[in-house]
Chain length 198, copies 2
């Protein structure tokens, strides 16, 4: 027999979510059918509520319920340093580091010619505009350590240097707690290049 159409449809829609395969979509759908009305309301409401209340900060493009976001509004921050990240999730990760006291800028992705993502598709213009208007002394580029992030970092560095602003990039090396035996060659080579005197 075929599955009821409405279940088929729910599976189809859920299958399109990132990281959810057909089997997982099926499992989630049947689970959803068994949830209580209360549980379903909680699920649906939490989604709709988040979408309603969460906006992009007009300064740094972080996701926040307020504009400007709590970081941009925090007068204790060092306002002359900006850390540039790809996504709001990356911002959260960097902001867990207590030593960093500066501000942020969320690009909204990385350059990726293969996926047809060019400079106009991420917020490079907006970053440059902010660097020109605010009094920024250093930009720390914290894009991902993959080829897209690297390409984006190089592209940004070129532009930013022209504005006479210092540009730095997160250091590469062994992850703390990492086992050399399992580190890839490129990481080890970067760790050697970035070695420090003891």
């Amino acid at each position: 027999m075929n599955r009821p159409q409405s279940i088929e449809r729910m599976i189809d829609v859920i299958k399109k979510l990132p990281g959810v395969g057909p089997k997982m979509a099926e499992r989630l759908s049947y689970h959803i059918l068994k949830m209580t009305d209360n549980e379903i309301n909680r699920l649906v409401d939490s989604i709709l509520k988040a979408r309603q209340t969460v906006k992009s900060c007009s300064v740094c493009y972080n996701l926040s319920e307020r504009d400007p976001c709590p970081i941009c509004a925090d007068s204790a921050k060092e306002r002359s340093i900006i850390c540039v990240v790809e996504t709001p999730q990356d911002l959260i990760a960097v902001s867990r580091v207590k030593d960093y006291k500066g501000l942020y800028f969320v690009l909204g992705g990385a350059l990726s010619p293969l996926d047809a993502v060019g400079p106009d598709d991420i917020r490079i213009d907006k970053l440059i505009k902010r660097l020109k208007s605010d009094n920024i002394s250093e930009v720390i580029i914290a894009t991902d350590a993959d080829s897209k992030g690297e390409m984006t970092a190089i592209y940004l560095a070129e532009l930013i240097k022209k504005l006479d602003v210092k540009v730095t990039r997160l250091g590469y090396g062994l992850p703390v707690g990492g086992d050399i035996e399992y580190a890839d060659e490129v990481t080890i080579s970067r760790a050697i290049a970035g070695r420090k005197e003891m």
Copy 2:
């Protein structure tokens, strides 16, 4: 910085879905925030619609938009044979087998003393009642091939035999296309026990 509360809440709710870990819940949540209103409506509507229209068939407890379900209502079925499965998903799997022309019964789970699932927690009473009222000549037990499914099969077989109804269980053996090298011992032992003359 902390994540906005409404995103935190959405992650918490999504994290409770089966097979979704904290990282996956985070990824899904941020994806949902980036979806268009149209996509969100499609997602939410498909869930609410499925929950609204899908019911349990009052005969076999299959999920269906009609009651009785299309299988129970199909006069071409052989009505004296019932295949007992744990879940509606299992029913779909068995129903793809064209040679089986009989009816079904969905238990709604398997016995599992460790999870405190006893005979009263799955539809054993309802199955027995149906066997008593309908004219059933054979019950094929198609519970999972794990310990819970096996235990449930044994328990059911005892009860059904008392009603003078033939009880069979799906055969064990190598999965078709399976490589003996990678089959586990128990499966090979069952395959030997179930060997057929050529």
